[in-house]
């Protein structure tokens, strides 16, 4: 299946999908094929980290795995479990109230997913209460708050205050991300780190969750 791995990593869509179809029709295990995709995604993530791949490649790999999954899905038998490693932890992500931008958030979510986190994405313009309530019920290890605009600062701060009020702040790491975030904003919001690049999230997540 090295051929499939290469095709996915090199983002050769037609070849990768044709091979996937061929493997499934020949009766290969759906999980094994799916694991090849996961391994390929890990390599794509590594290339992104090494600045060999950029956003176009990440977006394309996201599309490719979606298309690949569609081919594999009908062959998955119920009860069959993926042989993947246990998840590193849980990350809840959202673009905060008032801000409708989602490109950065989506890339950050995808990179955390590749890095082995279970990611729940609440979407854009998400009310503070909704984020805090999800934090209570889903118990994430990390909350990633995204926002492109300066108007996002206050809603980010309100989420952190909401977490404090619920006694959750010490249990959850808070990352803020977006073009207008910096150290000033991090302090104001009361977040643990700020990120203007998707890899910052991943490195941070691996640091705080890896040792558990």
């Amino acid at each position: 299946m090295q051929e499939l791995l290469n095709a996915v990593v090199e983002l050769m869509e037609d070849e990768a999908l044709a091979l996937t179809k061929e493997y499934m029709e020949k009766g290969k295990s759906a999980n094994e094929v799916f694991d090849v995709y996961k391994a390929a995604l890990a390599e794509i993530g590594a290339r992104f980290e090494k600045k060999e791949y950029f956003v176009p490649e990440l977006i394309l790999s996201g599309e490719l795995i979606k298309a690949g999954s569609e081919i594999i899905k009908p062959y998955l038998t119920t009860g069959e479990n993926s042989s993947g490693k246990p998840k590193l932890g849980k990350a809840l992500i959202a673009t905060v109230e008032g801000d409708i931008h989602d490109i950065g958030k989506n890339i950050a979510g995808m990179m955390m997913d590749i890095a082995g986190l279970e990611v729940m994405d609440l979407g854009v313009d998400v009310a503070t209460d909704k984020i805090v309530n999800e934090a209570i019920s889903w118990q994430p290890d990390i909350i990633g708050l995204s926002g492109l605009l300066t108007l996002a600062y206050d809603p980010m701060k309100m989420v952190v205050e909401g977490l404090k009020k619920e006694g959750l702040r010490d249990k959850i790491k808070v990352i803020i991300g977006g073009g207008q975030t910096d150290e000033h904003v991090r302090k104001y919001v009361g977040a643990d780190i700020f990120a203007t690049d998707a890899m910052v999230n991943v490195t941070f997540a691996q640091q705080v969750l890896g040792g558990r």
Partner: protein, 414 residues
């Protein structure tokens, strides 16, 4: 009382001295104001977007209070509430239309040119714009999608019957919307001209006389969408190049036409999609830079002075950006490293920037002064520098904006 025509001339000279890398009397300052003037007068965003009188009053008040070295005319880009509404414009969410009354408008990502429509766009752009793009982006003109292609209306006899298409009730209604939009647009432009006259009388030269974009950004922002174009970079790179080739002359003409109409040779060009993290250097050099460089060269050749807002971090692009005509372009740095920009543009271009807006929004006046000092210490030198914020001051605290203007005016003197 100050002689305002002299003030106007002084301010123009101050700016162009910087552009031409000469030493002015002091560092000019003219931050992007966005809706800050409305907040100063306690008007909501919605009020000024819809009421031209309130907008003029607030913006004049802002200019008189802070005395920036260039004026900003908000009408085309901020005062368009009635026009957006008439057109049922889909590319923005704005106060009262998807956003609260006191929030600045936000851009909505759309894919208005579908990947399979590249050839239509490239081969018959006007037809695509009239019958596909406009109906999609302006919902009240959606019926234009039903029009027959005008390119097929050859005479002498079968071309006689194209007007019947306008009998369709929905098309007729869309034509009525065009008329309403024309009236709203004309009112808006008239208000803009009136304010421009007041600015000039008060001694404030315009910050720009026109707007254009890098062809790649136009293709990404308003046609393919960010995601669509990123996929195209791998899937159909040739289509991107062909489309940008078609877009380039439009971008050039947009700037030349606006400069001629306004009498101001400064063209504002914000860069949206060329950040270091968005694409590789090889992709930048292939897809973004060639058409953008040609745009800059062509504008300079025609006597214009591009003011380029380099959004995000573009440290890796600076070495390309420096290959432009000397003493013509202002590079407005947002998130790139100012020290690297200084190195890259030495002897080539004026730099503008880049007080982090986070300090203005959340810091104290002391924090603001400390940041201003850092920037002036690094950049003041022997000219070629204009003080500005990284992005707009829309959400800045009043006392911090006071501190910024006061500090730069006092310490920016040569």
């Amino acid at each position: 009382m100050a002689d305002n025509s002299q003030l106007l001339a002084e301010r123009k000279k101050r700016y162009f001295d910087c552009v031409e890398l000469k030493k002015p009397d002091r560092v000019p300052i003219a931050p992007l104001a966005e809706f800050f003037p409305a907040r100063l007068k306690n008007y909501t965003v919605k009020e000024v977007m819809y009421n031209h009188d309130l907008m003029s009053e607030a913006w004049l008040y802002y200019h008189e209070k802070y005395q920036p070295d260039q004026s900003q005319n908000p009408f085309r880009l901020r005062g368009f509430g009635p026009l957006l509404e008439t057109l049922d414009f889909q590319h923005l969410k704005w106060a009262g239309h998807g956003l609260p009354d006191n929030m600045a408008y936000q851009f909505v990502e759309l894919e208005l040119l579908k990947v399979e429509e590249y050839d239509h766009f490239i081969n018959d752009m006007s037809d695509f714009m009239l019958r596909r793009y406009i109906p999609r982006v302006c919902k009240s003109l959606a019926a234009f999608e039903k029009l027959p292609p005008f390119s097929a209306q050859f005479s002498y006899f079968w071309g006689l019957f194209w007007p019947t298409a306008f009998l369709d009730p929905e098309v007729a209604k869309a034509v009525e919307s065009v008329r309403e939009a024309a009236l709203a647009g004309a009112k808006l432009l008239a208000a803009g001209r009136e304010l421009e006259g007041k600015y000039q009388a008060a001694g404030f030269p315009p910050s720009s006389g026109g707007y254009t974009q890098a062809p790649f950004d136009t293709l990404s922002d308003v046609l393919r969408g960010t995601k669509g174009l990123m996929l195209d970079m791998r899937r159909c790179p040739d289509k991107i190049m062909a489309a940008c080739e078609k877009i380039l002359p439009l971008m050039i003409n947009a700037a030349l036409g606006a400069a001629k109409a306004s009498g101001c040779p400064i063209t504002f060009i914000p860069l949206h999609k060329c950040m270091d993290t968005f694409m590789s250097q090889a992709q930048f050099e292939k897809f973004y830079w060639p058409h953008f460089q040609e745009l800059l060269q062509e504008l300079c050749r025609n006597g214009l002075y591009p003011w380029v807002l380099v959004e995000g971090n573009c440290d890796n692009r600076l070495n390309s950006f420096r290959n432009v005509p000397e003493g013509k372009i202002v590079w407005h740095i947002e998130g790139s490293n100012l020290r690297k920009a200084k190195e890259a543009f030495r002897g080539v271009s004026c730099i503008r920037g880049n007080l982090p807006v986070s300090v203005l929004v959340m810091g104290s006046p002391d924090d603001v002064r400390a940041e201003c000092k850092k920037i002036l210490d690094l950049m003041k030198d022997d000219g070629g520098f204009i003080f500005d914020t990284g992005v707009n001051i829309g959400d800045a605290r009043f006392e911090n904006v006071d501190a910024m203007f006061d500090y730069v005016r006092e310490h920016g003197v040569y």
